[in-house]
């Protein structure tokens, strides 16, 4: 089996201006910290981001967003990252809001090789945008397009060297679908083990979807509860 373990330097060489980057994580939980730092250090710009949210200014993908090098963001909320809101208002970051469960299904639809799906959720609201309306029988639905990425950033608890993945608690969130939806899928894992070391029943993402694996040093930010005075309630992640 192919050994897919590589270095952060090699990962940096895969990133490019204008790329679409999918990232796992929910309020920073489950966003791969070492990969975010690699992106920050890469000088890559005009990135099209797709992920659950904008993190916090100092947590998750938020650390990159505040630098102003993301061109667009598809997310379900940005309330926990006021800088993202400022960039949006200043016309420097194009934000498309998508209902949280619809967004993960759009990433999944791309990841499993389907061509989008229909739903009633969001119909008639501002979040309909210019999404096509499709009539089936006597009902009208919104068409939600699939999403894939040039690069996908994934955080896993454990990976074997082929890329079979298991996750940790609520750090799983969107990661399994982000992993499937990348043309190139890069996994940062807390622990890298030999093939056979994972129980074949417990594997959540089969390694066939994974392109590269790097070892994690753990998350390198302070969570909001570690800095209680820093944020008002309104700046915390919202839904």
């Amino acid at each position: 089996m192919t050994n897919k373990v590589t270095t952060y330097d090699h990962v940096a060489s895969l990133l490019f201006d204008g790329m679409t980057l999918l990232f796992g994580g929910f309020g920073g939980v489950g966003t791969p910290p070492g990969l975010v730092d690699t992106l920050i250090q890469s000088n890559v710009r005009d990135v099209h981001l797709v992920g659950n949210d904008a993190g916090f200014p100092w947590v998750g993908m938020g650390k990159f967003i505040v630098l102003g090098r993301a061109k667009s963001l598809v997310a379900s909320h940005i309330g926990s990252n006021p800088v993202a809101g400022e960039l949006m208002t200043a016309g420097k970051l194009q934000v498309e809001f998508c209902p949280q469960g619809i967004l993960v299904e759009r990433i999944r639809s791309g990841g499993v090789g389907l061509n989008g799906f229909l739903t009633e959720i969001g119909k008639g609201t501002h979040l309909q945008y210019d999404k096509p309306l499709v009539t089936i029988g006597d009902k009208q639905f919104l068409y939600e397009a699939p999403i894939t990425g040039d690069i996908a950033f994934v955080y896993a608890r454990k990976a074997d060297t082929f890329g079979n993945l298991v996750f940790d608690k609520t750090a799983r969130n969107t990661n399994p679908f982000v992993a499937m939806a990348g043309k190139v899928t890069i996994v940062e894992a807390d622990e890298i083990v030999e093939p056979g070391a994972l129980d074949p029943e417990e594997v959540v993402v089969p390694g066939i979807f994974v392109t590269h694996i790097v070892p994690s040093s753990g998350y390198n930010w302070k969570w909001i509860w570690e800095m209680p005075d820093k944020l008002s309630r309104d700046e915390r992640p919202s839904k």
Partner: protein
């Protein structure tokens, strides 16, 4: 009454809606205070849309960075609970497996239409999972203070803020009153904490009928 008192009153009343055996999703803000007012014998399962069923309280020590609620704060897992991905989480929600969803609101209209995701030009939080929760929950309860700080009503004929979901709210709980949303419009069910009917009429834009026990 200051804002903090109002929030506590609303949360305490909302807790009465939660019964043993239910699966409950709580939004951030006032709804997150509801567990503080649950009677100890009430055995519910809390679902959080970031991937937990059976969420327990904040850990006393040793918060785990990989175990949080949907607001990003550390929680615990109760015996028999489990973790899952975001797609499974919203499958539960859209399929109506969450019995009660208690969400904070910015405005609710007479037909139960909910606005709770954006105040254009002021706050851009984003919609998160609110649209699915509004769509899927068997019972959706909206919590909010009865009026804006300046006294403008939040229970409206028609929402003036961008809508989260149409005709989804089943009950509105404020610090002054409890309304049921019926096919015929709002029905005042209870007056809270000594509020008078006249007071409620003055600060409620939407028309409402009275429950028999208030007549």
């Amino acid at each position: 009454m200051d804002m903090g008192d109002a929030r506590q009153i609303i949360a305490r009343r909302a807790a009465l809606e939660v019964k043993s055996g239910m699966v409950v999703n709580l939004g951030i803000g006032i709804p997150s205070l509801v567990p503080d007012f649950l009677a100890p014998e009430v055995d519910v399962l809390f679902q959080a849309e970031n991937g937990i069923l059976g969420m327990g309280p904040t850990p006393a020590v040793n918060a785990d960075g990989n175990l949080s609620n949907a607001a990003g704060y550390p929680v615990t897992l109760l015996t028999g609970g489990c973790y899952f991905d975001s797609a499974t989480s919203f499958a539960m929600i859209r399929r109506g497996r969450v019995d009660v969803s208690i969400l904070g609101a910015l405005q609710v209209s007479a037909d139960g239409t909910l606005a709770n995701w954006i105040v254009p030009g002021k706050r851009v939080p984003g919609v998160g999972g609110a649209m699915e929760l509004a769509f899927g929950a068997a019972n959706l309860i909206a919590l909010m203070t009865h009026t804006e700080k300046d006294g403008r009503p939040k229970i409206m004929r028609t929402c003036t803020l961008p809508v989260t979901a149409y005709r989804c709210v089943k009950k509105i709980i404020t610090e002054k009153a409890v309304f049921a949303v019926t096919a015929e419009g709002l029905r005042l069910e209870e007056l809270l904490e000594g509020t008078s009917l006249e007071e409620v009429r003055q600060c409620t834009e939407a028309p409402f009928t009275l429950s028999p026990q208030l007549m």
